[in-house]
């Protein structure tokens, strides 16, 4: 799943535009992720101008 570092995010929306699954949304000035639609592809984390997105391993049950 994707972890959003809110204290780093510059809410520019670049990540939203590249998400192949539409899992990200910029609501006013905060970014949200729908982890049900996220496939962990990592594109958003790679292109973020600030490094505000991180892929987190699923926690074992």
């Amino acid at each position: 799943m994707i972890k959003i570092r809110r204290e780093v995010c510059g809410y520019c929306g670049a990540c939203v535009s590249v998400c192949p699954n539409g899992a990200l949304e910029l609501i006013d000035a905060f970014l949200t992720v729908d982890n049900d639609n996220c496939t962990n592809c990592g594109i958003c984390a790679k292109i973020c101008p600030l490094g505000a997105l991180e892929i987190e391993d699923e926690k074992p049950l």
């Binding site: 809410y11 539409g22 594109i43």
Partner: protein, 400 residues
């Protein structure tokens, strides 16, 4: 907010504002919904626009302009410079806008023409019936309302969520997003009437760095790199900090601006039943310069015209709205987008050696018209030796 309008516009940027104004002037009901609490902020733009481009739409109000540009400079990877000046010395070639003022004023003009405007009103979904776009679900002041419209105009910028909710894939390929960072810097030594562009794979891989003056000793200083070149330790912000450290070590940063600019081809189709997509949301930002203001205003105004006409004829089907798609694709802007796409695909293949070779053998160019194509043809004309570079020969084909 009413529960029905002739036209509902998602997003209050320059594209949405021009669309709204055009529809209102046609005597139809129109509403802009903007998710932010204020129009024009936060800025996600380097704010440059060609002089002729702005005048095409509106009488220019001096308060929109941060600075007037009289020349430009391109700095090659080895540090040599080409100065670009207009044929008429001292005449203006472009503006650096104050988008906070500009965007707000465009929406004010739309409102004065009769458009309704709601800020901090967030569209959270599309309303679709039998495959036809019928309106939008809007969250406003803690309530959720379904607002219907004959035509919805998606003007929601680089995120382009509304078209996606209508089933249109607006995903920008990773290699075709320019990921950008910019500071407004002050207390820096610059020519206040000259824009400066830096190219080079160490400075800004598959992109460029820019200095766009905002007045004496103040400028937008930014950088854009391809998404595929971005990663931990070498993101747009990292490249920008490196650039600023060497270029303006004593400058002060008074604002940080981030953004994504698409350099892909436009969406394959920018209309659907009851829907028109404009501006950055339609992926019509310029692939080589990254400029999007003019293209958003152009498609916005055209969308407003076509939507009004279709509503009056009581046919807002995809086939009827297709007139919009066909018209912008065949326009000067549409043709420039296609040509500049090829230009971009060539540009990103150039290593520093080739960039130096192309940019080195000329010191200054007198431009009859200030645009990318004039620059390329002048470079070719001034550069018989560099014509040996096969990429430049390929560029010539694009112009001829």
């Amino acid at each position: 907010m009413k529960n029905h309008y002739d036209v509902l516009i998602v997003g209050g940027g320059p594209g949405g504002a021009l669309a709204a104004k055009t529809v209102a002037e046609n005597g139809l009901s129109v509403c802009i919904v903007e998710k932010r609490p204020a129009i024009g902020v936060p800025v996600r733009c380097a704010e440059g626009i060609g002089e002729d481009l702005l005048h095409e739409f509106l009488e220019v109000d001096p308060k929109w302009i941060s600075a007037k540009m009289e020349s430009a400079k391109i700095v090659s990877p080895d540090g040599s410079e080409i100065k670009l000046t207009p044929k008429m010395a001292g005449s203006e070639v472009g503006y650096v806008l104050d988008r906070k003022v500009f965007d707000r004023d465009l929406v004010r003009q739309a409102a004065n023409a009769g458009a309704e405007v709601y800020v901090k009103a967030r569209v959270s979904d599309a309303i679709i019936q039998d495959g036809i776009v019928k309106g939008a679900r809007i969250e406003y002041m803690g309530d959720t309302a379904d607002v219907t419209a004959e035509v919805v105009i998606a003007a929601d910028g680089v995120e382009s969520k509304f078209a996606r909710w209508c089933g249109i894939d607006t995903t920008v390929p990773m290699r075709e997003i320019e990921t950008c960072a910019q500071y407004i810097m002050t207390d820096i030594d610059i020519d206040p009437h000259e824009t400066v562009f830096y190219v080079g794979n160490n400075i800004s891989p598959e992109g460029y760095a820019w200095i766009f003056p905002k007045g004496d000793r103040m400028a937008n200083v930014g950088i854009g790199i391809s998404g595929k070149m971005s990663g931990d330790g070498h993101r747009a912000r990292d490249y920008l900090d490196k650039f600023v450290e060497t270029t303006f070590p004593k400058g002060k940063k008074i604002e940080l601006i981030l953004g994504g600019v698409s350099t892909c081809r436009p969406l394959k189709c920018t209309v659907a039943d009851g829907l028109i997509i404009i501006g950055d949301a339609a992926r019509v930002s310029d692939p080589i310069t990254g400029g999007g203001i003019y293209n958003a205003m152009y498609t916005g105004r055209l969308a407003g015209e076509v939507a009004s006409e279709c509503i009056k004829k009581k046919n807002c089907s995809r086939a009827a709205l297709m007139k919009y798609d066909t018209m912008w694709r065949n326009s000067k802007m549409g043709r420039a987008l296609e040509r500049n796409y090829h230009l971009k695909e060539l540009f990103i293949t150039l290593d520093d050696k080739k960039l130096n070779a192309i940019l080195n053998s000329v010191k200054s160019i007198n431009m009859a018209k200030f645009n990318t194509m004039t620059l390329i043809s002048e470079l070719i004309k001034h550069n018989p030796k560099a014509m040996l570079i096969k990429e430049l020969a390929a560029l010539k084909k694009l112009i001829d």
